[in-house]
């Protein structure tokens, strides 16, 4: 189980633009961190850095699991539950096929109950993804996140495209994840409502 994630003096340059430098923070198990900032401030880039897609120009990212601390990006990636701003869904596959694909890819079993949790149970589970609304696609992405059973959630605008009940669902899932010892780092313009720390870029 994950104990903490520590960023030490991170600096990131994209093209000619220095997005941030000297960025340091620590998030412990059971905590959430909201990353705030204007459009283009580097919120998504920070998440991609934490996921291991990008490499910092300066600084390092350490993840502690049990007593072992590692700065290996690939190891960190195996802990990440990713909810990007793109939904990662194929219009040709049904809702359950989509969930089943990612469940098996992550070495898990697909559970229809997860679809009930996010409001996509019953007949909706057999609907091709091309018929889903933006909010329903987001709900399916949430189901996928739950199925991955990863301890470190990196969420890019988790409330985007969701109605009020969907936003409540996300808040509830995040609270449950933190209370079970997980870590959440979310790039957002909205308050997470978890009594969390904030990081301004």
């Amino acid at each position: 189980m994950i104990s903490s994630l520590t960023a030490e003096k991170l600096a990131l340059v994209r093209g000619d633009k220095k997005l941030f430098e000297g960025l340091s923070f620590r998030v412990r198990a059971g905590q959430a961190l909201a990353v705030e900032g204007a459009n283009g401030a580097g919120k998504t880039s920070l998440l991609r850095l934490l996921a291991g897609f990008l490499t910092p120009h300066v600084g390092r990212i350490l993840v502690k699991t049990g007593d072992v601390e590692s700065d290996e990006a690939e190891e960190r990636g195996r802990l990440v539950g990713w909810l990007g701003h793109l939904d990662g869904l194929k219009p040709q596959l049904t809702v359950f096929e989509q969930l089943s694909f990612f469940a098996h890819l992550y070495g898990r079993e697909a559970d229809r109950a997860v679809l009930d949790t996010v409001g996509l149970g019953g007949a909706r589970a057999d609907l091709p993804c091309r018929y889903l609304s933006a909010g329903q696609k987001r709900r399916l992405a949430l189901a996928r996140l739950l199925t991955s059973q990863r301890p470190l959630w990196l969420l890019d605008e988790p409330f985007a495209a969701l109605d009020t009940s969907g936003q409540g669902l996300v808040a509830d899932l995040m609270a449950r994840h933190c209370s079970s010892g997980g870590i959440i780092i979310a790039a957002t313009h909205d308050p997470l409502g978890l009594g969390n720390e904030s990081l301004k870029l």
Binding site: F53, L86, G88, F101, F102, H104, L105, Y106
Partner: protein, 222 residues
């Protein structure tokens, strides 16, 4: 089901449900094979002589049609991020995608080739050699193509650059494959050409996943 098989089955399923890639490749291959005799004329000896080269080039170009989408769809909709974070190493991800591309494009092209060889009046033994050479060689087309597809996946018009990148790399496959058919036409053994083709395909399939994975990593960080 293992993560490798899961990805392989999904890609084949997507290719089948999209309905475009395999059907488009087969139609293109059939059109090339139909137009060529119309252009060359009714010289049956000449048609049989050029059949190996024309059908090999046709098959390579037809396979290229769907190669640019090998990673691009997953890249554009964000699936590639999720696949990259899965326990499946990117090298095996690349291998699964190469295999899926071959199953949905290379194999159907190979199965169609004996039928198209009839239009070129190709005798039975060279037709068999053509079939075997495509069976051996088309995995190399998918494997080498995967390197180009992964290299150009974040480019807007990457599909246009892709042929320029990979066609020169595929020239050994065309030379050995078409050469084996020609050798068979001349009554010489086709084994030499087929063995060289097999060696090329083996090397391509073995090395391509590593190069492809490196290119995907580069693009995910871009």
């Amino acid at each position: 089901m293992s993560p490798f098989a899961t990805l392989l089955v999904r890609d084949v399923k997507l290719a089948a449900r999209s309905g475009g890639s395999a059907a488009l490749a087969l139609s293109f291959f059939a059109l090339v094979a139909t137009l060529m005799p119309l252009g060359v004329g009714a010289d049956l000896r000449l048609l049989a002589r050029i059949a190996g080269g024309v059908l090999w080039v046709g098959a390579v170009l037809a396979a290229l049609l769907s190669l640019d989408r090998l990673f691009q769809g997953d890249y554009e909709d964000g699936s590639l991020d999720l696949i990259a974070l899965s326990p499946l190493p990117l090298e095996l991800t690349a291998l699964a995608k190469i295999f899926a591309h071959w199953l949905s494009t290379g194999l159907p092209l190979t199965l169609l080739s004996p039928l198209l060889a009839l239009m070129f009046n190709l005798p039975p033994v060279p037709t068999l050699v053509l079939f075997v050479s495509l069976l051996i060689g088309t995995p190399a087309v998918s494997a080498v193509g995967a390197i180009g597809a992964s290299l150009t996946l974040s480019l807007k018009r990457g599909g246009l650059i892709l042929p320029l990148l990979i066609l020169p790399l595929l020239s050994p496959a065309v030379i050995f494959g078409a050469g084996a058919v020609s050798a068979s036409m001349d009554g010489l053994g086709a084994a030499g050409g087929l063995e060289l083709l097999a060696a090329f395909a083996f090397g391509a399939v073995l090395l391509s996943p590593f190069a492809t994975a490196a290119c995907v990593r580069l693009n995910l960080g871009g």
